[in-house]
């Protein structure tokens, strides 16, 4: 039989699924980072100041869901909610389940190795949810992070970098950009012992913890040396080389979108390209000082809203099931 040499077209449903598979894996990893950063921050607070777990729920945007199920934001409640709660659609457990369901529906599109790894991750978190929590949380979070990294590495090196792969990377990059803004936001919500502590060792330690939670501490040190809030924000928001920096992620997302559509840089053929390209160039030419002056939290809110719009545009441009032309249906 003659072999076909044309590229396989990608089913809209499959594109949708690999995009969300990428997003959910990245989300699971970042929720593990949230738990970690908060735990680190708590450890560094002066004794007697009490624990702050409410802020983290505010940052992930799940406050309403949390309050439906729990009375107060204690450590064990919040950790349970973020890691294992089945009724929280964004818990690590729910994300891994959703990633796996998506992967399962496109098993013939992804590599067997990717499927096996997502399956291992699933066995890791579904086993854990039956066990009581303890001091084992940091280790659990580390395992989740590593399993997610492994998945992404396997994806990078075993799956053809075709259209489906670019949809996965598009989803992964958008999710990572969103979560980096939220991790930075945790710092905004955490209260210092007093306002005058801004710029004190407490403050430095907390910014250091934020950097560590996105695996950025060492890379930041190499780039800037001293921990300065303005520089940390610049690094995590506008760096062009650090892979978890928002600007870097948006650049990757834009590259993937263009690989999918074939549109050259500097032009657009659909709403998702227009909005993503615009955001990319704004971040490319942004400076940190005006952002801080206008308010970091407000800037993040706006950024998150724009990324949500891009997500909706991607759905409309590629995943929506177009109705057939009139007269085609019997």
């Amino acid at each position: 039989m003659a072999m076909t040499d044309r590229a396989q077209p990608l089913l809209s449903r499959v594109a949708d699924s690999v995009y969300w598979m990428g997003r959910y894996i990245e989300r699971a990893e970042n929720v593990a980072r949230f738990i970690d950063v908060n735990q680190n921050l708590m450890l560094d607070l002066p004794s007697g100041f009490g624990e702050q777990w409410q802020p983290i729920v505010d940052t992930t945007g799940d406050r309403a869901v949390f309050l439906e199920q729990y009375e107060e934001a204690t450590q064990s409640n919040v950790v349970q909610f973020l890691a294992f709660e089945a009724r929280n659609p964004n818990s690590i457990h729910s994300c891994v389940l959703a990633a796996r369901e998506n992967a399962r529906s496109v098993r013939e599109t992804i590599s067997s190795e990717m499927w096996e790894q997502i399956n291992s991750l699933y066995l890791l978190v579904s086993g854990e949810s039956r066990k009581p929590l303890a001091e084992r949380m940091p280790e659990f979070c580390r395992q989740v992070r590593m399993a997610c990294h492994l998945f992404q590495g396997i994806q990078h090196s075993t799956m053809s970098h075709n259209e489906a792969w670019h949809f996965t990377r598009l989803g992964t990059s958008l999710e990572r950009a969103d979560k980096t803004t939220r991790i930075l936001d945790v710092k905004y919500f955490i209260l210092l012992p007093s306002v005058s502590d801004v710029g004190t060792p407490y403050d430095d330690i907390q910014w250091g913890a934020v950097l560590k939670s996105v695996s950025g501490f060492e890379m930041y040190r190499k780039r800037y040396g001293r921990i300065l809030p303005e520089r940390v924000v610049e690094f995590l928001l506008l760096d062009g080389e650090f892979p978890r920096a928002v600007r870097y992620c948006i650049g990757l997302a834009d590259n993937s979108l263009r690989a999918i559509t074939g549109t050259r840089t500097g032009a657009f053929s659909c709403p998702s390209e227009q909005r993503l390209g615009l955001l990319r160039s704004e971040l490319d030419y942004a400076q940190v000082a005006p952002i801080l002056r206008a308010g970091l939290h407000e800037f993040f809110d706006a950024l998150q809203a724009r990324m949500n719009t891009i997500d909706e545009c991607v759905r409309g441009d590629f995943f929506a099931q177009q109705p057939l032309a009139a007269g085609a249906d019997g």
């Binding site: 449903r13 291992s120 057939l324």
Partner: protein
């Protein structure tokens, strides 16, 4: 783990059943000798470690099936036994010829039924038996599928009785499943058990996906470019979903769901990120009933509206052909030997299991009087549901079935309880005989091809004769040996 000794066959008891591995005097059959020696030479606890490794591997690979009616949506691995079933070359030759003959005749029968119905006119089969079958599709009357092939993929169930004879138990013509386990079982054995293959001339099964794709491509309507083949699945909640994705992956074709396809006057298309793309051949793993809400069940959400019309117009090929189930009901099964004589002009190479048709007065009388010895099957159910295994039944179960049979004789057939052959199976820390059947896979396109291997299903419960996965059955790898290996030659194994 203390207390484990290496596992031996010295205490293995064939208990008067036909054993695939041992002769009656407990001497290993020639084809099995090398395997037995290898297994016995394994050191303490090795085999059990292999078994656990295999189970972990299957779970890790996500080779699971979904259990219907289990609300937790539990995925289970299909229990897998490490000891393979071995079929010597001469036995396989008979099976292969018998299957080719049978599939050829069944195909001729279906084509006849949807055209001239000569076999009915000549009085070989009573017309009402065929035309009243639920799976007879009047929509297919007069239809000419590509190459006049109706049974593209067949998974015939064979059993071996106490007399050593293979019998055909069932012709699975509609959407037979299980072939992925044949391929994966072999992979697992190769990954964890390579040494055991050494010296044995086991025929490879890995060419199945290529053969399947080649057959499917040969069905494509004439098209300007190379044909596009897709596999149509009901989706991830179907019990055979793993197989659907596995086969699509192995063939390098798209796995589609009904919602991915649309039909217009030009043919069938799939929705892609770049718009609609034409589809030429659909390997559908959805039952006729759900294929097209316009032609069959209107409440089907799984199918594609207008698909049958496109098929009837020759704009798309479907495998297996809708309507072929008319030859795959237990009531028609009883007539297959007559069919073979009628269309092939020869006696069947593989016999049927003797079958009593409850709508025949004399047969029904016999069945009702011998319920405790017979296996009674509902003529319309599959998967081991709605079945009475006489010798293992209670009095009240038999009474219940007697009432059912009298109320609706057309719905029941009965067969003698076969002493299914057995294969040694790992049970805890030793071997016990377990009953097996065999499902080889037959492809029919330009020619008929029989995969040298098959799914050996094994009833894991002691004494049980029910091998269906939904009823706790498991599987074994099936080794078909090459004829006469040259001694000392290159070892060839897959």
């Amino acid at each position: 783990m203390g207390g484990l000794t290496s596992m031996h066959f010295s205490s293995y008891d064939t208990q008067g059943f036909y054993d695939e591995m041992f002769e009656e005097n407990s001497r290993p059959r020639p084809c099995a000798r090398l395997l037995l020696e290898t297994v016995e030479s394994l050191s303490e606890g090795h085999l059990l470690r292999y078994k656990h490794a295999a189970e972990r591997l299957l779970l890790q690979m996500g080779i699971t099936f979904n259990v219907y009616g289990d609300t937790a949506g539990t995925e289970r691995i299909f229990p897998f036994d490490l000891i393979p079933r071995i079929i010597p070359a001469d036995e396989w030759d008979t099976i292969e010829r018998g299957l080719k003959q049978r599939v050829h005749a069944l195909n001729a029968f279906i084509d006849d039924i949807y055209h001239d119905q000569k076999i009915l006119k000549n009085g070989i089969i009573p017309p009402e038996v065929v035309l009243s079958a639920v799976s007879y599709r009047k929509q297919c009357q007069g239809l000419n599928p590509p190459r006049r092939v109706w049974c593209h993929v067949t998974g015939t169930d064979l059993v071996r009785g106490g007399d050593g004879q293979y019998y055909v138990l069932e012709d699975n013509l509609r959407v037979p499943s299980g072939v992925s386990y044949v391929l994966e079982n072999r992979e697992v054995l190769k990954r964890i058990f390579p040494a055991v293959f050494e010296g044995l001339w086991v025929r490879p099964v890995s060419e199945y996906p290529s053969r399947l794709l080649e057959m499917l491509e040969s069905l494509a309507p004439p098209a300007p470019s190379s044909p596009r083949v897709v596999l149509l699945t009901p989706g991830i909640y179907n019990s055979a979903y793993f197989e659907h994705s596995f086969l699509a992956q192995q063939m390098g074709i798209q796995l589609v769901e009904g919602r991915d396809l649309v039909v217009d006057s030009g043919g069938v298309f799939m929705r892609t990120t770049k718009g609609l793309e034409r589809v030429d051949v659909i390997y559908r793993r959805i039952d006729d009933d759900f294929l097209d809400p316009e032609a069959f069940r209107p409440d089907s959400l799984l199918g594609v509206r207008g698909l049958m019309a496109a098929y009837q117009q020759g704009r798309v090929a479907l495998a297996n052909a809708p309507g072929n189930g008319v030859a795959d009901v237990k009531v028609i099964y009883a007539y297959v030997p007559d069919m073979i004589r009628y269309y092939e002009g020869a006696d069947p190479i593989l016999p049927n299991v003797p079958t009593y048709l409850c709508w025949r007065e004399s047969d029904r009388q016999y069945v009702l009087e011998h319920l405790a010895e017979l296996v009674v099957k509902s003529a319309n159910e599959s998967g081991g549901y709605g079945m009475l295994v006489g010798p293992h039944s209670t009095k009240s179960q038999r009474e219940e079935f007697a009432v059912k049979i009298q109320a609706n004789p057309r719905n029941f057939i009965a067969q003698p309880t076969l002493a299914l052959s057995r294969v040694p199976t790992v049970v805890e820390d030793h071997f016990e005989g377990r009953h097996v059947d065999l499902r080889p896979y037959v492809l029919c396109g330009k020619e008929i091809y029989v995969l040298p291997g098959g799914l050996t299903r094994v009833a894991m419960k002691r004494g049980s004769l029910v091998v269906n996965s939904s009823q706790g059955g498991g599987s074994k790898d099936t080794w078909v040996l090459s004829p006469a290996p040259a001694p000392g030659g290159q070892q060839q194994w897959q």
